[in-house]
Amino acid sequence: MFALADCNNFFVSCERVFRPDLEGRPVIVLSNNDGCAVSRSNEAKALGIKMGDPLFKVRDIVEKNKVTVFSGNYALYGDMSRRVQEVLRSQAPSVEVYSIDEAFLDLRGAVIEDFDAYAKQLSASCRKLTGIPVSVGVAPTKTLAKIASKLCKQYPKLRGGCYLHRPADIEKVLRRFPAGDVWGIGRRTRGKLALLGVSTAWDYAQLREYDVRKNFALPGWRTWKELRGIPCIEFEDYVEPRQHICVSRSFAKEIDTVEELCSQVATFADKAVAKLRGQGSLALEMAVFAMTNRFHTEEPQNFASQLVAFPDGTDDHRTVVLTAADAVRKLFDRRYKYKKAGVLFTRIVQKEGFTRSLFRDAEADDKEGRLSQVMDAINGTYGRGTLRLGVQGDGQVHSSHEFRSPCYTTRWAELPKVRI
């Protein structure tokens, strides 16, 4: 058996742990730079606020219904996520953290008599210990476990835990579950699904294997099997090195000078290199991009990008940051105001086992390597951005956190205060 533990409206729930007065009331959390709603309480969903809605678009609803608005407080969310993971680890033999608010549990070999009671108990423990409501779905495959956890959210009667295993139950549930919402069925395949007459998960599971293989490639075939109760998506309790690394942000205020854009992008590049080095990879190719504000339709729009190759691979701070700054100088156009920019490593290889060119300057590489190591060590100890390259400017990403809650659990100066 597998379980999926999924935190309900996670960012909103984190805020509510410290603000119990917000239980039962509409709450939303905005993305970086207070752009768009990225987490909504059920009450906010009921008011018609959609995932990704920019704040200005829903301002009327927010004001009329006194919706509480928070800026993202990622220090808090990260710490609360760590706490939930700890509870899960204490209750399951192995845990695969899938995202900040979701984890799969591998229950194969665990001695559990009653999976339904187990799921409800686990949900209750998470709630009691961390304050976060968690939906736990248990099923023979990861894909079905994910569906089971969604049922918990729809039906409060399940008390946060659902064991989905009887074939008759699975059929009943899949018949009402839209195929497009199944984990692993991408948005792009929706057109194809319609052509094949598939609208529910059950329709998909009833397709002939031949049609699935022909139309949906390997991932679609796996999903098909998983829906039929055959586990075939590997359990991964170690983290695979990522194939892409992207650091991008939208700016609180639009940027219209090349120096400013350079220093922001340089800071992104520095962060991206830190991630790259953290997983022991080399970048072979990097894309640097900048774009205007797509919501300001009356202003001239632009999306500019530059692709740079590092044929020998690099994980050097200086090389990457200076190259990124250089790319910005090439793509910058002063007719536009830039709202968002980023750095993306589009080709990554593992450092170990990668053969670098014979003709590279090994001595220079060694120097670069030492400098990067020192930067990692200093920035690791004293905080990112302590030691930085001149082009990064003050190293601050100019973002706005107008409605950020205190970092209740990660900063001494921001502990919750109790009046007693």
């Binding site: 760590r82 020192v374 209740y408 919750p416 109790v418």
Partner: protein
């Protein structure tokens, strides 16, 4: 992202900060304490459950007789079940407070602990109150 915000010292043991900057120190006599790494960890003493322990800061004087003074840091563990007489962070009708919780058959009373002031009265908790025990206070950190 895993615990990313919570790793204050990612420098590994084998490659310490200093050895990176100045190179390993080569000395004559190996220290007999080299392989013994022991130290007292206050966090281990005060935080029994790392998943469920939170810190709060005291603002107010209703609990001075329970050794809770202005500015003290309370260690609060949600894993501890509220018991009769426990001191707990409570949330009642929209506000946080810390009181001694006296539990009886059909409810509870939140008792202040300040003999010198008549300002603080016991708060009865009934079915009409919006009430929850947020977590039980397990330690108080105070400046000597």
């Amino acid at each position: 992202m895993k615990n990313a915000s919570f790793v204050p010292h990612p420098v590994t043991d084998t490659e310490s900060f200093e050895s990176l900057l100045v190179g390993a120190v080569k000395a004559g006599f190996p220290s007999p304490a080299e392989d013994v790494r022991e130290k007292l960890d206050l966090v281990k003493l005060l935080v029994r459950h790392t998943a469920s322990t939170f810190f709060f800061q005291v603002d107010g004087v209703s609990m001075v007789d329970a050794d809770m003074d202005e500015g003290d840091i309370l260690i609060v563990d949600r894993a501890v079940d509220p018991y009769n007489g426990c001191k707990a962070v409570c949330f009642i009708d929209g506000e946080y407070t810390v009181k001694r919780v006296v539990i009886h058959d059909d409810g509870a009373v939140l008792m202040p602990c300040n003999e010198h002031s008549t300002h603080y009265k016991p708060i009865p908790v009934g079915p009409d109150n919006d009430f929850l025990v947020w977590g039980v206070v397990t330690y108080i950190i105070k400046k000597a």
